[in-house]
């Protein structure tokens, strides 16, 4: 059976097509925005930022493209830029890219991105350390963090009367409440990886070395013992980021590491027990930003800068990054908070206030250490 499109709708589609076409002709500039990350990242550009930016800047059209989830998605963007450079193309077809930390050394060393950030007005609002340094690599001026995402311990206050403040207290709690702490190992998603990384930082006390480099394999001597101890704890191993959240929601576990934005997103959708709280414990967990970069030979360099300025403006950071997505702002929170609704503020900062975030929000280690840690986890 063929589905027929009703006449009225057909006319509507035609009207849209005609107007879309007219709009396309009227637009002098098409800005190509390519984002790494999952479908939510693509939707954010296409359905949230693009319409608003087009409304404020008549004559500009945003063409948002997703390049795929995780670090491989960022890799795709780097490869695309590199191939255009190698082919000697004068105007590259990416104006703004949103990438993970891991590809920054490549992008800068191969001369693929512009040092554009000091030229935009929001540059002086950006104070975060990871806006200047990505996994031990100096990126100052090349990036603007779009947001900062953080892993924290989520817990159920009914089952955890006094949540731990440190890793020592956490271990004591886990031993006293077998199977009630859940995390997803290192195979099911980054929240478990972040917890394992935080554990290694705590056990070795060598965070500075792992995060800032230079790479030195001898600093990993303490890992096997640390990982053996982690694996000997009576915990529940979940299958992924979502599974940890599901089990918290159902009350099967009482505590576990989660991405802050995922927890807030579920709460916003009413799919999470509202009483679940968060805590960042000493010495801390890693989190990560995503960066806005502008390629060196972007066809629309000026419009690209405007787009980054728009995303990193206090108002948009407040309304979209904080309220809609539950991320921490990419620019300094003190410029953003006045624009944030009380409800969103309490969701984000009630459990992890900005000063704690500054103290206990760590980076992931250098990529080589990072890989070694994943291997060490499997082998011990």
């Amino acid at each position: 059976m063929r589905r027929r499109v009703p006449g009225g709708r057909m006319v509507g589609i035609l009207v849209m097509l005609v107007f879309g076409w007219v709009g396309l002709v009227a637009a002098q500039v098409t800005l190509n925005v390519v984002t790494a990350g999952d479908t939510n990242m693509h939707d954010l550009q296409r359905n949230v930022f693009a319409p608003e930016f087009e409304k404020r800047n008549p004559g500009v059209k945003i063409n948002a493209v997703g390049s795929g989830p995780g670090d491989p998605g960022s890799r795709v963007i780097a490869n695309k830029l590199k191939s255009q450079k190698d082919a000697g193309v004068a105007k590259w077809d990416v104006d703004v890219a949103i990438v993970h930390q891991i590809v920054m050394p490549d992008l800068i060393q191969q001369d693929l991105v512009a040092k554009y950030a000091p030229e935009i007005s929001t540059w002086k609002l950006m104070t975060a350390a990871d806006g200047r340094n990505a996994l031990g690599f100096n990126v100052e001026g090349y990036v603007m963090p779009m947001f900062h995402s953080q892993v924290a311990l989520a817990y159920n206050p009914d089952m955890v009367q006094s949540p731990p403040n440190t890793f020592e207290e956490l271990v004591a709690w886990i031993k006293g409440n077998p199977k009630k702490f859940g995390y997803n190992g290192v195979k099911g998603g980054m929240s478990g990886v972040a917890f394992t990384t935080g554990w290694a930082y705590w056990k070795t006390g060598l965070y500075e070395k792992y995060a800032k480099g230079p790479y030195d394999k001898s600093t990993q001597a303490g890992w096997p013992a640390a990982i053996k101890e982690l694996k000997s704890l009576p915990v529940t191993l979940t299958t992924g980021n979502n599974d940890t959240l599901d089990r918290l929601n159902r009350g099967e576990i009482a505590m576990g590491p989660v991405w802050v934005d995922m927890l807030i997103d579920l709460k916003n959708q009413g799919r999470m027990d509202p009483k679940i709280r968060m805590k960042l414990i000493s010495p801390g967990f890693p989190g990560q930003p995503m960066y806005l970069v502008v390629p060196k030979q972007a066809a629309n360099y000026q419009a690209a800068k405007k787009y980054v300025e728009f995303i990193t403006s206090p108002e948009i950071q407040a309304k979209v990054i904080v309220e809609r997505n539950g991320w921490y702002p990419g620019i300094d929170g003190k410029h953003v908070l006045p624009h944030v609704s009380a409800k969103a503020k309490s969701m984000l900062f009630q459990d992890v206030p900005p000063d704690e975030l500054a103290k206990y929000g760590l980076s992931f280690p250098l990529s080589q250490h990072f890989k070694d840690l994943l291997t060490a986890y499997e082998e011990n």
Binding site: V186, K187, L237, T238, T239, R250, L374, E379
Partner: protein, 273 residues
């Protein structure tokens, strides 16, 4: 066969063969090639790593596939026999439903149903059969994977086995009934032996697809070792960016599947010429 007709058959078979070569055989060779490369040099390092980290995962994958297959066949043989001899439209329809449910949906649905505080335990707790303070869990264990795989594959099994049973001439069954054979005897002594080749084919299909199951073990399996092979492959690629070991794991899966495929090919070509 004469040479001309041989050529003709070859010409007819060429396009599908070319597709198989291009879409399967060449990637297979490339995968084999990459599995012997480590840091750009020929080595057995990838296989050494598979042996060191994943040898139990290979056994685990085989174990889950074999158990699931035995259960699916056991249920399908008798259920289809009942449907063939007695017949029941509603039951038949119900068993075809999983055919149209995607793997991810099966994984998530089973996870919600079988979790420690999932739908099943919550329902049983209402009548006092389960204590929610310390609930038993089928999800997140190998049993959870088996239950999901069985449920998902039953539809395919029912489709294939029932088709084979329906192809058995009614006269045989009537003859058996005249001698007073029960439904069980009719299935065991008439339907099953006559439909055996189809059962082998169905088994080969299901076994290879179970070996390659990914989303179901990812969603309902446990978070710890052992894992099924495809989950390991995914992990090696996405987290470690280690294509060599991923390909070596792939080669191991090919070998496992090949044993079954060889048997299947022998069964379907045995009647030729």
């Amino acid at each position: 066969m004469r040479a001309s007709s041989r050529l003709l058959s070859l010409a007819i078979a060429a396009p599908p063969l070319a597709i198989v070569v291009w879409l399967f055989f060449l990637p297979f060779l490339s995968s084999a090639h990459l599995s012997f490369l480590r840091d750009g040099a020929w080595s057995l390092g990838n296989y050494a790593l598979v042996w060191r980290l994943y040898r139990f995962d290979v056994l685990y994958t085989l174990w889950i596939s074999v158990v699931s297959l035995v259960l699916v066949l056991g249920i399908a043989i008798f259920l289809c026999g009942y449907l063939r001899i007695v017949g029941h439209r509603a039951v038949e329809f119900l068993f075809k439903v999983p055919l149209f449910v995607p793997f991810v949906v099966v994984g998530h649905g089973m996870r919600v149903l079988l979790a420690p505080r999932g739908t099943l335990n919550s329902a049983l707790a209402q009548v006092g059969l389960v204590d929610l303070g310390d609930p038993p869990s089928i999800a997140f264990t190998w049993l959870g994977i088996v239950v999901s795989l069985v449920w998902k594959n039953l539809a395919l099994a029912v489709l294939l086995v029932l088709g084979a049973y329906r192809a058995v001439d009614e006269a045989y069954l009537e003859a058996a009934r005249n001698f007073g054979a029960s439904v069980y005897r009719q299935i065991k002594d008439i339907l099953l032996p006559m439909a055996a080749p189809s059962l082998v084919v169905a088994s080969a299909f299901m076994f290879t697809s179970m070996l390659a199951s990914f989303s179901i073990p990812l969603m309902i399996g446990g978070g710890e070792q052992p894992q099924m092979l495809m989950v390991d492959v995914y992990y090696r690629i996405n987290y470690q960016n280690d294509l060599g070991t991923a390909n070596a794991l792939g080669m191991v899966s090919y070998l496992l599947a090949m044993g079954v495929a060889g048997y299947y090919l022998r069964t379907i070509t045995v009647k030729e010429f």
